[in-house]
């Protein structure tokens, strides 16, 4: 006998909803430090997401056009001044948020798609496959992320998708490790055994019984990984192996502005840097607070 729902999609949706409903206890932490951390993190992220989505309406000028004299300090016409090419720094800041979030989101999706299924498979099947996959993933994990990303990005050449792929290579092992370890503990649970006893095949067990139960830990990891990915992406742009110069990007703008430090043109590098700083703080605060909330060992403290 095979146990498989007649409407697998519906069951799948149910599992996802169920794992989301575990966030119920959010109300119970209201007023604690973690709650404030989460609120602040969320607010920062919503703000930057808003800027990114409505970039065409917010930015007063074309980010790539020369709109005024170069090296104008912040003034009433250009609130963040102009850079060495006479481009409006504020417009570049606004459009830069789009690039940054786009790369972070894309790389997370790719890393998720690589890391999660492999982690599930490795943890569930075990044996030789698990050993080989774990060894490879551990080796990638041990490699300094930025340097690996530099190597991959150099070989792939510039472009948003290419940068996202090189970041995904760096962060996929993190997803893999978390999912694998969670799978190892979940597969020993009674309900998995019950499903096995009922004759459910491996695919069914993995996707309907294990996957929904390991997915909450991914929420924390992805939030912390995105924070790190934004920093790494900025590092790639700074070094010059990131995206092409015609796309406004915070990391590239900082790298560009460093030549004009001696002219005391502080506004060219300060604002894009603050953009990176605050987005990363937003994701870190969100990730840290979720970690404290979802991790029962820490909740006792």
């Amino acid at each position: 006998m095979k146990v498989k729902s007649e409407r697998p999609m519906k069951q799948f949706k149910g599992a996802i909803l169920q794992s989301i409903s575990r966030l119920d206890f959010l109300s119970s932490i209201k007023g604690r430090a973690e709650w404030y951390m989460m609120v602040i993190g969320m607010s920062i992220l919503v703000l930057f997401l808003g800027i990114a989505v409505f970039a065409p309406y917010i930015s007063p000028h074309d980010p790539n056009a020369m709109v005024d004299k170069p090296f104008l300090p912040p003034n009433s016409k250009h609130i963040m001044g102009t850079n060495q090419l006479g481009q409006d720094v504020f417009s570049r800041f606004v459009w830069g948020s789009r690039t940054s979030l786009l790369i972070a989101g894309l790389s997370t999706i790719i890393a998720f798609v690589i890391g999660v299924p492999l982690g599930l498979l490795s943890g569930f099947v075990g044996g030789k496959l698990d050993r080989v996959l774990s060894m490879i993933m551990d080796a990638i994990y041990a490699f300094p992320g930025l340097i690996l990303a530099i190597a991959v990005a150099t070989m792939l050449g510039p472009g948003i998708l290419n940068v996202a792929v090189s970041l995904a290579v760096v962060y996929a092992p993190t997803y893999f490790r978390v999912i694998r370890n969670q799978t190892l503990s979940v597969r020993e649970q009674l309900y998995v055994e019950a499903a096995k006893a009922l004759g459910a095949d491996k695919m069914t067990i993995m996707s309907y019984y294990i996957f929904p139960n390991v997915i909450p830990s991914v929420v924390v990891i992805s939030s912390l990984c995105i924070a790190d990915a934004i920093l790494t992406a900025a590092g790639l742009s700074f070094i010059g192996v990131g995206i092409s110069p015609e796309i406004p990007d915070w990391g590239y703008d900082v790298s560009n502005g460093q030549r004009f430090l001696t002219y005391r043109a502080w506004w060219i590098i300060t604002f894009p840097g603050l953009g990176i700083l605050f987005t990363v703080i937003g994701f870190s605060l969100l990730g840290e607070s979720l970690d404290e909330i979802l991790n029962p060992k820490l909740r006792e403290r």
Partner: protein, 336 residues
């Protein structure tokens, strides 16, 4: 002690597959990924004859398994390839730049430990209080700072406030100490050259503060969470019950056990240090391995890029070995 020796031998043996995997990852990343490195470096518009010539010159038109064997056997012979730009062996180039990276790393690590550990202990001590929150927000913010941006902001501060601290390079012209180890601070100490020592330290100041601060954020977080774990153990409660002063409980009882996992995490921290050094070096024009790597990328020097990335892979393997052995020495509970 014999058991420890066996453990070390075992660990060295285990390092071989790890390094092999690391090298294989490097190999596949640099060769197979886009199809062919020459076009990745120079774009698709390169004339086919020129591309062919370069492929032959770099040994890239052989079947990939032959390339793989060439690559590994070359490494065994200490052959990291010949730089296309300078025509010198890549390994020789690496060794001229590596001491600078090492010096920067050592000083940054010292700063990170000096800032990070006390802050973490303090935050754990004040758990839940406003000062704990402040420490944690500080740690998160420092970690969230793009390292190159922090470096540039410090440079900006120095420039605007007219503080006479160098913002670039490793040493002033003509002040280099006699070459012994390549570490300028150590060399000038060994030769008793006070002038060079002061100059080298002043050049080290900003870069090592930049890298050290960023690392200290991580150390603070690790120390805090480990301290919280040990502060909950029974022996700490017992010590407190006996009326031992709180600072003594913190330092003599909890801290010693809390610091062990931090040593384990050093491997990860080291990866962060290497990656951070690449950015810091490029920000401060520090002539280290990271600056060399970026110069190679800018000049499309494929053999040198491959050599440097390979070198990083070897360092990573070596450090994980050292960390494990140090751990075994420190913690007698580790089975070997």
């Amino acid at each position: 002690m014999a058991a420890l020796r066996v453990y070390i031998v075992m660990r060295v043996m285990l390092m071989i597959p790890m390094v092999l995997i690391l090298l294989t990852i490097v190999f596949f990343t640099l060769r197979i990924l886009p199809g062919d490195p020459v076009r990745a470096m120079y774009g698709a518009k390169i004339p086919p004859e020129v591309a062919e010539e370069l492929l032959t010159e770099w040994g890239l038109n052989k079947p990939w398994h032959v390339q793989y064997i060439d690559y590994l056997s070359g490494l065994l012979r200490g052959d990291f390839g010949i730089s296309y730009r300078t025509k010198r062996p890549v390994l020789v180039e690496i060794f001229t730049y590596f001491p600078a990276t090492l010096e920067l790393s050592i000083f940054s690590m010292i700063i990170a430990i000096v800032f990070g550990i006390p802050l973490g202990v303090y935050a754990a001590h004040k758990r839940g209080e406003p000062s704990d929150c402040l420490c944690r927000i500080l740690a998160i913010s420092i970690y969230a700072m793009p390292i190159f941006w922090l470096g540039l902001m410090l440079q900006l501060m120095v420039i605007i406030l007219d503080i006479p601290i160098p913002t670039g390079s490793r040493i002033s012209p003509l002040k280099e100490p006699t070459h012994i180890t390549g570490l300028y601070v150590l060399d000038s100490l060994l030769t008793g050259n006070v002038d060079s020592l002061v100059d080298a330290l002043s050049h080290l100041f900003l870069p090592s503060i930049t890298l050290g601060l960023v690392l200290s954020g991580v150390i603070t977080r690790m120390t805090r969470s480990n301290m919280l774990d040990t502060l909950r153990t029974d022996y700490v409660t017992a010590a407190r019950a006996r009326g031992i002063a709180e600072w003594r409980v913190l330092i003599k009882y909890a801290f010693r056990n809390a610091i062990l996992p931090v040593v384990t995490m050093t491997g990860l921290l080291f990866a962060l240090l290497l990656a951070g050094a690449v950015l810091t070096e490029n920000t401060f024009n520090w002539p280290g391995l990271g600056t060399y790597l970026v110069t190679c990328i800018a000049n499309r020097d494929y053999p040198a890029i491959q050599g440097v990335i390979t070198f990083y892979a070897l360092i990573v393997g070596f450090v994980s070995l050292i960390v494990d052995i140090v751990n075994a020495l420190l913690d007698p509970r580790i089975k070997y």
